[in-house]
């Protein structure tokens, strides 16, 4: 799905989708719906090593490098976080390490998420972004080395 589209194009898609919502109730309904639809992570991945630090809820994130293309899988015990990570996966999964590291991810601000809940350490949105970029950076350094 995301193979043909650039990160920026997918970000713009999300921004366009969110522009259809009138209220934050609708936005949250949509995010919760994304969370419900995110396939659950296989139990073997739900280990401490895969936990994202800095979230009030538990978030597990795994990354796989297939011929230079990185794929993410994730899960959480909280629904809104799960919806957020579903969006991040949609934007970042299936791209190269370089593309992921350099992704602006400005859609988070554009859909109003930054002002709505990214400010406190408790929701972990920024921690998830950081962790995904760290995975990409690690793969990049590994390839370079």
């Amino acid at each position: 799905m995301s193979d043909n589209k650039s990160i920026l194009e997918i970000e713009q898609e999300i921004v366009d989708e969110f522009s259809l919502f009138d209220s934050w109730d609708d936005k949250y309904e949509y995010i919760i719906d994304l969370g419900k639809k995110l396939p659950p992570l296989e139990p073997q991945y739900k280990k401490d090593d895969n936990k994202v630090k800095g979230c009030q809820s538990t978030v597990w994130l795994v990354a796989e490098n297939v011929n230079g293309v990185i794929y993410f899988k994730a899960d959480s015990d909280a629904m809104i976080v799960k919806g957020l990570i579903s969006m991040l996966i949609r934007v970042l999964s299936g791209h190269t390490a370089d593309e992921i590291v350099n992704a602006p991810l400005d859609f988070i601000r554009q859909i109003g998420m930054m002002s709505h809940l990214a400010q406190t350490r408790s929701n972990g949105l920024l921690a998830m972004v950081k962790q995904m970029k760290n995975y990409a950076l690690a793969f990049k350094l590994k390839n370079a080395g």
Binding site: W24, D25, Y28, I32, Q56, A78, M79, H116
Partner: protein, 414 residues
């Protein structure tokens, strides 16, 4: 003893609300419902004005100055000490040490009394419902001294298991550190009894009053504890101020905490003589402005009438408990007979964080998470709770807003 001019039966909450400028703000397009009072309370206009007045007209460093303004600032600062002394019925003003907050008070005791008196093999008794602030300082000193921390369990409804407590006390118990009221459950502990039992076993007892002082009448002599600590910001006062009360003989014997100005009498490179109580524990320029405004906060509660506040908060607690219990799948965590006005709850198959975010979207501020009491959450085998905590200015109408927003959130999440 000053009696209130008019003996009132009931708190005029709408008049109280007018005194809190913060309460007129909106969040996410809704009138703010502030139910995070156990984290910090809002400040009445009188407290805000006291801060402005201090900085506008008598800001000066205290105790050393010979000039008029320094005298005024010193008098105001020391006045606060007298007010605190009366507020908790301490025998003397020397027993009131200003700290930065409850946490510093506990650390001070751990690092001075603890360092001087604890030794290998000694036991420190804390309860399962302690805030991290009443666990970590004891852990640090135990690691250093080779002491053991013993934990008093709680019962299913969130009360301290007094039988277990009594049986844990022994000749090795040197210190008991117990909260007066639990920040996560609301449980009010029978501190008089707890202190009595600790003393019978020959132990020193510290009571963490962070959550109780705003709700209850505090009489440290009646409690009989050796140390009592609390924070200004949870009692409608400014942040950055706390109080450590201690028994006179203990405070006198305790070694000094931080070194610096104010806490000394004479300084030479060969010999230093330390100041008397309470200054010996107040190194450096203290938090003058906030200490002064803290007095105004305590006066606010006294003028309002602590008995009226308590009655009002009990009404809120009772109403909210009944309303929340009607929500399918909702379970209240902490059902002690005696509670301060806070309710922790979990909802089946719903993460507290989702509840917190969706309530915030409706302008309702609650706290979600482990409430800095991870051992307690482990005990209930839950990752955290949602906590609504009520103060003097909260209303029944606001609880209705919470309940409505909860119904909506649950519907969205299921």
């Amino acid at each position: 003893m000053i009696e209130p001019a008019i003996i009132k039966e009931k708190l005029d909450v709408y008049n109280i609300r007018k005194q809190f400028p913060f309460l007129s703000r909106e969040v996410k397009g809704h009138p703010l419902v502030y139910f995070d009072n156990a984290a910090t309370s809002q400040k009445p206009e009188s407290v805000i004005n006291a801060l402005v007045e201090y900085y506008s007209s008598f800001n000066a460093n205290i105790h050393r100055g010979i000039h008029t303004v320094a005298e005024e600032a010193t008098a105001a600062y020391e006045n606060s000490r007298d007010t605190v002394k009366n507020y908790i019925n301490a025998p003397t003003r020397e027993q009131i040490i200003f700290t930065s907050g409850t946490t510093e008070g506990i650390n001070l005791v751990a690092q001075t009394w603890g360092r001087a008196n604890l030794k290998k093999g000694d036991e420190i008794l804390v309860s399962e419902m302690e805030h991290h602030s009443n666990i970590v300082p004891w852990y640090i000193i135990s690691q250093e001294k080779g002491c053991t921390i013993k934990v008093v369990p709680i019962t299913e409804n969130g009360e301290l298991d007094l039988n277990a407590y009594a049986s844990l006390l022994n000749e090795k118990t040197k210190l008991v550190a117990i909260t007066h009221a639990s920040n996560a459950l609301g449980t009010i502990n029978p501190v008089n009894k707890i202190s009595e039992l600790a003393h019978k076993a020959g132990a020193v007892i510290l009571i963490d009053g962070a959550q109780s002082t705003v709700h209850l009448d505090i009489d440290v002599q009646e409690i009989g504890c050796d140390f009592f600590v609390f924070s200004s910001h949870k009692v409608y006062g400014p942040t950055g101020v706390g109080v450590l009360y201690g028994k006179l003989n203990l405070l006198q014997e305790m070694p000094v905490y931080q070194g610096g100005g104010e806490m000394i009498k004479d300084v030479g490179f060969e010999k230093i003589t330390y100041n008397d109580l309470p200054y010996k524990f107040e190194a450096g320029t203290p938090n003058i402005a906030d200490v002064i405004a803290f007095k105004t906060a305590l006066e606010f509660t006294t003028k309002t009438g602590k008995n009226l506040i308590r009655k009002h908060e009990e009404e809120l607690l009772h109403y909210a408990t009944n309303a929340l219990e009607e929500i399918p799948g909702l379970k209240i965590i902490g059902k002690a007979k005696e509670k301060v006005s806070l309710i922790s709850f979990v909802i089946e198959n719903v993460h507290p964080q989702d509840i917190g975010i969706l309530l915030d979207n409706k302008g309702v501020a609650v706290r979600t998470g482990h409430h800095c009491a991870q051992p307690l959450m482990d005990c209930y085998r839950i990752p955290g709770t949602t906590r609504a905590s009520f103060a003097v200015y909260n209303t029944i109408d606001e609880i209705d807003v919470l309940v409505k927003a909860l119904h909506k959130a649950i519907k969205m999440l299921s």
